[in-house]
């Protein structure tokens, strides 16, 4: 039958690719919400060394709520406030972005083949998916002009780190605690981003980072 974690990982890769080629902000936010839910589900479907406790399920629900609900909502709220509709004028064009995505997955697969992690028997897709998400997030941060898209890239990078974490760590509680700390940082970061974006758009009537580079202290 279908291997459920693999299906999730493939769907995550699909969302990565869609966001690399995407041009509309609303679409981005929906994809990030989708990806957040999938990413938080993955570690719970991997092979486990201990029984599922209520604590685990609590973590899962909180993760889904933050990654799939609160963060996308904050992003949506920020984009509404600064009234950005689309990510016009990317620094790297859409076609080149897609080709870069292909290159990223080639490199990610190569790297994860070289690493040959011991803890990953039966889940060969996990590490390539993690590296692809991470690198694609980094690429989005570099290749897009709008501040909010760069935040989305950052978010995607964090998703990749979370996947890599669940790939490399043994399935224990300590892993979730570290991830949780990172996630809270991220949440706060995005809240601050929303406020700053609002301030930027009030002072400069555009949230394009190109303009910010020309500021003089």
């Amino acid at each position: 039958m279908i291997n459920t974690p693999d299906v999730l990982l493939v769907l995550i890769l699909l969302s990565v690719l869609l966001s690399i080629g995407g041009s509309r902000l609303q679409e981005f936010i929906r994809i990030m919400s989708f990806q957040g839910v999938l990413v938080s589900l993955v570690p719970f479907l991997l092979e486990r060394h201990e029984q599922t406790s209520w604590l685990d399920i609590g973590f899962l629900l909180v993760l889904i709520a933050i990654k799939g609900g609160i963060i996308p909502f904050l992003l949506w709220f920020a984009s509404r406030k600064v009234s950005i509709k689309r990510d016009a004028e990317p620094i790297v064009g859409y076609h080149a972005s897609i080709l870069t995505g292909l290159f990223i997955i080639l490199v990610a697969t190569f790297i994860s083949n070289r690493m040959e992690p011991v803890s990953l028997s039966g889940h060969q897709l996990l590490l390539p998916a993690a590296f692809t998400t991470l690198a694609a997030g980094l690429f989005l941060m570099m290749a897009r002009r709008k501040a909010i898209t760069q935040v989305i890239g950052y978010l995607m990078m964090e998703n990749g780190i979370y996947l890599a974490g669940s790939a490399l760590a043994k399935q224990t509680h300590t892993q979730f605690i570290v991830e949780f700390g990172v996630l809270l940082d991220l949440l706060v970061g995005i809240m601050i981003m929303g406020i700053i974006l609002h301030q930027i758009s009030r002072s400069f009537d555009d949230a394009d980072t190109m303009f910010l580079e020309r500021l003089k202290g």
Partner: protein, 304 residues
């Protein structure tokens, strides 16, 4: 034998399946929609008419509808339905099948250029460009399937001992392939996000503008060829989705029928909820489908 019977049944049903798209579209906007057999009525009406040929056209213009219909029909001979063995099959027939569609497209483009109408030349240029991008996606999928089964025929993919479908261990990757093939289906058959078959402005059309000057039986052949081509791609995807069956029973055929209907209905839903892309965004769409297939291919190398 059952392959032949199924082929004949589905040849007759292909226009009906296309009606499903129109019905779904009508339903989603709250209309009643055309009658269920509208496509048969259209074909019958067109076949009863005479053809009008411009004095500036050559025999290519008369030849192209016949060739495009014949190519679609020949391609369907190789397609296994519901696990039944197809009528023709040999090692490497996938190349032939997809190039048959290429041949049909070549003659449609030639006929469009033959009319010397500026609009048709524009449509021909677009069709050639987008189809060439689709080919990249299709052949990447074929490379992937070769990697999975070691076979190069549709029979080997869909009816052999090593059947490709979603339910095998590495089936998760086929989700990417299914998404890619669905995008190719939309692009190749000039469905909405790429091209709008119902539009009436030559500047925005791709496939429709190329057949503007065809009339009567010629147009009927082209329409029927288009129905069959859409059916071919739908059957391809249905074969990927359905679990394998060693024998063809009533349940197998029924589930195949349902899967095809669902795919057509999905096309209808997509046509209702999305707007047509700007021409500049179409290559991005098709490149995305290529990228999906490429993703899947690399990941299969990882798995095996």
């Amino acid at each position: 034998m059952e392959g032949l019977v199924l082929l004949i049944i589905f040849l007759f049903l292909a226009p009906f399946f296309s009606t499903i798209i129109q019905k779904v579209k009508a339903f989603l906007v709250g209309k009643q929609g055309p009658p269920l057999f509208i496509n048969y009525f259209t074909l019958a009406k067109l076949l009863a008419k005479g053809s009008v040929y411009s004095a500036s056209t050559t025999f290519i213009f008369r030849l192209s509808p016949v060739i495009s219909l014949a190519a679609s029909m020949t391609a369907l001979l190789f397609m296994p339905f519901a696990g039944a063995a197809p009528i023709l099959s040999f090692q490497g027939d996938v190349i032939l099948v997809f190039y048959l569609f290429g041949l049909a497209r070549f003659f449609t483009i030639c006929a469009a250029l033959d009319t010397a109408s500026p609009f048709e030349g524009m449509g021909a240029a677009r069709e050639a460009y987008f189809a060439f991008l689709c080919e990249a996606a299709v052949f990447t999928v074929l490379v992937l399937f070769y990697r999975l089964t070691g076979s190069l025929s549709l029979t080997g993919y869909f009816t052999g001992p090593d059947v490709i479908n979603l339910w095998r261990p590495e089936g998760a990757l086929l989700l990417l392939v299914i998404a890619a093939m669905f995008m190719v289906l939309l692009a190749e058959n000039s469905r909405v996000p790429v091209d709008d078959p119902a539009t009436h402005l030559e500047l925005t059309m791709i496939h429709e503008v190329m057949v503007l000057d065809h009339s009567g039986p010629d147009l009927a052949f082209i329409e029927l060829g288009a129905f069959l081509k859409l059916f071919f791609y739908a059957a391809f995807i249905a074969n990927l989705v359905l679990p394998s069956r060693p024998t063809v029973g009533f349940a197998g055929i029924a589930s195949f029928f349902v899967a095809i209907s669902v795919i057509y209905a999905l096309v209808g839903v997509i046509e209702s909820i999305t707007a047509r892309f700007k021409m500049g965004l179409v290559p991005k769409f098709i490149l995305t489908s290529f990228a999906l297939a490429f993703f899947a291919t690399i990941l299969v190398l990882e798995l095996k």
